[in-house]
């Protein structure tokens, strides 16, 4: 017993006090900033190297729903493209994930697009069922970490539960393989109404690097309303939790 108490004393306080302002490594790849004066030649080169087709070769915008955050476009165009360590990159609309040249505003949720019942019912308590649909286990581990002693999303009443019957919504990771399509559908059906869908990680949002694979079946994503998109490769716990509490209107 004494040994445990000693360990816990050395353990100290590990929780992140303010999840909105926590500083992360300057190298962390978060919201990109693209120079307003980036020239067509540089855009073309960046679009050509992008492994997941996230860069529009005409406009030079970067789609965070497709980006795998490899930073190679920045290495190619230093000074013109810069991945900042701003981890608050979740959005409730797909379009807002497309970052245009010259756009340096932080990403914030579109309040008008949040369904009323989401805030009314889930602000005090949100129970989620996670479905890994061909995720590579990095997003799954980050979602697991969102509830650990450091990030502790339980402080907001948000947690993952064991059964879809106990859940208010699902969090999907992975590009959705054909082999998981039915299980995903069944899990969703098992969640009582009203319910929400969150996509965590670039693979879930667009298929990411697997986008063109014939082994996927993304019809579920295409035919359901998505309440929150959380980009990342994988989605960082800070990105996930901030996205969810912004959606719920938690101050």
């Amino acid at each position: 017993m004494l040994k445990e108490i000693k360990s816990l004393a050395h353990h100290g306080k590990q929780f992140v006090p303010d999840l909105r302002t926590q500083s992360v490594s300057p190298l962390f790849r978060g919201r990109p900033s693209i120079a307003g004066d980036i020239i067509a030649h540089d855009i073309k080169a960046a679009a050509a190297i992008c492994p997941s087709g996230a860069i529009d070769s005409n406009t030079g915008s970067i789609d965070l729903g497709r980006c795998v955050f490899c930073r190679e476009c920045e290495f190619l165009n230093p000074g013109k493209i810069k991945f900042t360590n701003d981890y608050r990159i979740a959005s409730n609309t797909r379009n807002a994930l497309i970052i245009k040249p010259g756009d340096n505003n932080p990403l914030r949720l579109d309040k008008t697009a949040i369904r009323k019942e989401v805030r009314r019912l889930f602000k005090g308590s949100l129970k989620l069922r996670q479905v890994s649909a061909a995720g590579d286990n990095s997003c799954e581990m980050e979602l697991g970490a969102s509830g650990n002693v450091n990030f502790d999303m339980g402080r907001y009443g948000i947690e993952f539960v064991a059964s879809p019957r106990h859940a208010d919504g699902i969090v999907i990771t992975g590009p959705v393989s054909e082999n998981m399509a039915r299980a995903l559908e069944l899990t969703w059906e098992a969640v009582p109404e009203p319910k929400i869908i969150i996509l965590a990680g670039t693979d879930a949002i667009s298929g990411g690097i697997f986008g063109e694979s014939p082994a996927l079946d993304r019809r579920f994503i295409a035919t359901h309303h998505i309440d929150l998109y959380v980009p990342g490769n994988p989605a960082h716990p800070l990105t996930f939790i901030n996205g969810v509490i912004d959606m719920l209107g938690i101050k």
Binding site: I49, V131, S132, N137, A183, F210, E212, L216
Partner: protein, 505 residues
């Protein structure tokens, strides 16, 4: 058959010409396999089918741990031929024959368990579908079946476990996977682009991003004739050990969580966070995605980061040492770990288990020592080997390996400090040697990762093979839970911590 019956390759070295790989008849091919596998120092590291110039060729790679060579030989399958299965004599081959059967429709006569491996999108027989997987069952009034998954209670990957139980006791467990199949091997060929392949390699199993990216980079460097400097080789070894350290600590937390030993869980969770945040400080990603690239690095290790890593190991060593002392002396933990989920030495050898799953039952397989790569060629690693084969041995192995990784990291940083030199940028416009075969092995935290590729006359990759260590090791979990209480399944599962997506590809 005249002449050589195999070509010997070294890990992390030059490729072989395709023509140098002996094409044997099936009789010689099988004798070559069975003869080799009688020797405990040899195991089948990979055995798979590849379409080469329109012909199905079976390629077998036997790792000889005594002289650090991998023996490669092949057999061209005649149209519609049924082959004699080698699994009855050497069960470690079961999964490889099943994969060849599923992918190409080759019949292995006498195979006791010729079932689907993962239901790949391009399987030979599309009538085989997930929903009617032929589970083993027993018609009995006394026994009952328990099905778990594919969606599990925790935040983990999908897979289906089917138990046959007598009361609370598990008689049999069948593990049915494939839900995670993304067609990744084919994408390595269809995406004829170096950077895309790097991103893919980091996504084979995102919890082993460094291990798989390193296996891929080594393979490309071998085929492209690229040598990387010693400083970069050391950096890669440090990154690999950081990955091992983080996972072993994280799995220790998970093991404690499963037996409701809360201090062990929370302390280890926080320590894992510290390790992966240091990886993030180094390369901007907690899993090391982006850190390993062929031919060079975008994130050369700096003095400042090396200092942080040293500080980290000092801190972790103290606190992890303290908490593991508590964990492994707590009767409530030991009662749940000791003599639970035992895999014996002979079972381990029979099923050809690798990595920690082998080392926990007295099989000293560790690619860092037996087929060294990168700087491990100059810096010998002595694997930690335990004998008991139970959950306690697997937990202890992680504990000891984590501590060993910290020692290795410190020593490697000391060596690196004397060798520091500018590291080149990654090479994405490589040209690969035409008509060649190459392979690459890395000891990831789960065990040996195998990547291999075949190029055509233009140097284009026409075949890419990935083997995650979980391919060997899932059978160990199935054996471990036999005659255990079903309530011991979670702790058995965590103690192996195998990959679903690495297996499903």
């Amino acid at each position: 058959m005249n002449g050589k019956t195999y070509t010997a390759l070294k890990n992390n070295s030059s490729p072989a010409g395709l023509k140098e790989i002996p094409m044997l008849d099936y009789e010689t091919f099988s004798e070559r396999i069975t003869g080799s596998l009688k020797d405990e120092a040899r195991h089948c590291t990979a055995y798979y089918g590849a379409m080469i110039s329109g012909k199905l060729t079976l390629i077998c790679c036997i790792a000889d741990d005594r002289n650090s060579t991998i023996e490669v030989f092949a057999y061209e399958v005649a149209e519609g031929a049924g082959l004699r299965s080698l699994t009855p004599g050497f069960p470690q081959l079961h999964i490889f024959e099943r994969e060849i059967h599923e992918n190409f429709g080759v019949k292995f006569e006498g195979h006791p368990w010729l079932k689907s491996v993962r239901y790949p999108h391009n399987r030979a027989d599309n009538r085989q579908i997930m929903d009617n997987y032929p589970f083993y069952s027993i018609d009995s009034e006394e026994l009952h079946e328990v099905g778990v998954g594919p969606v599990h209670a925790g935040v983990i990957e999908p897979g289906h476990f089917r138990f046959i139980c007598n009361g609370e006791k598990v008689l049999h467990l069948e593990i049915h996977l494939g839900y995670q199949h993304r067609g990744i091997e084919d994408l390595f060929i269809s995406k004829n682009n170096a950077l895309q392949r790097c991103i893919l390699s980091e996504s084979i199993a995102g919890d082993t991003a460094v291990g798989h990216a390193l296996a891929h980079s080594q393979l490309i460097e071998s085929l492209a004739g690229i040598e990387v400097c010693e400083a970069l080789q050391i950096e890669r070894c440090i990154a690999l050990e950081l990955e091992r350290l983080a996972i072993h600590i994280g799995d220790t937390a998970a093991l404690c969580g499963d037996v409701a030993y809360q201090p062990g869980q929370v302390v280890c969770e926080a320590l894992r966070t510290k390790v992966i945040n240091t990886t993030q400080l180094w390369c901007g990603n907690r899993f090391g995605k982006g850190l390993v690239r062929p031919g060079g690095s975008n994130y050369q290790l700096s003095r400042a980061v090396a200092e942080e890593i040293l500080k980290l190991t000092d801190d972790i060593e103290k606190r992890f040492g303290e908490i593991t002392n508590s964990i492994y002396s707590s009767p409530s933990v030991l009662g749940r770990f000791d003599e639970i989920g035992t895999v014996t030495h002979s079972q381990g050898l029979t099923i050809g288990t690798v990595g920690p799953s082998a080392r926990m039952c007295g099989i000293p397989r560790d690619i860092r020592k037996t087929h060294p790569f990168q700087y491990f060629r100059n810096y010998p690693v002595e694997p930690v080997v335990l004998e008991a084969g139970d959950v306690l041995a697997r937990g202890m192995l992680r504990n000891l390996e984590a501590k060993e990784s910290m020692r290795i990291i410190r020593e490697l940083i000391a060596i690196w400090s004397d060798k520091e030199q500018p590291v080149t940028k990654p090479v994405y416009d490589y040209r690969l040697k035409p008509d060649s075969f190459s392979l690459s092995l890395v000891e990831g935290w789960r065990g040996e990762i195998f990547h291999s590729a075949i190029t055509d006359s233009l140097g284009k990759i026409v075949h890419y093979k990935i083997k995650d260590p979980s391919m060997h090791n899932w059978m160990a979990l199935a054996l471990a839970v036999r005659n255990q209480e079903i309530s011991d399944f979670p702790v058995c599962n965590k103690s192996f911590s195998l990959s679903y997506c690495g297996y499903d590809l």
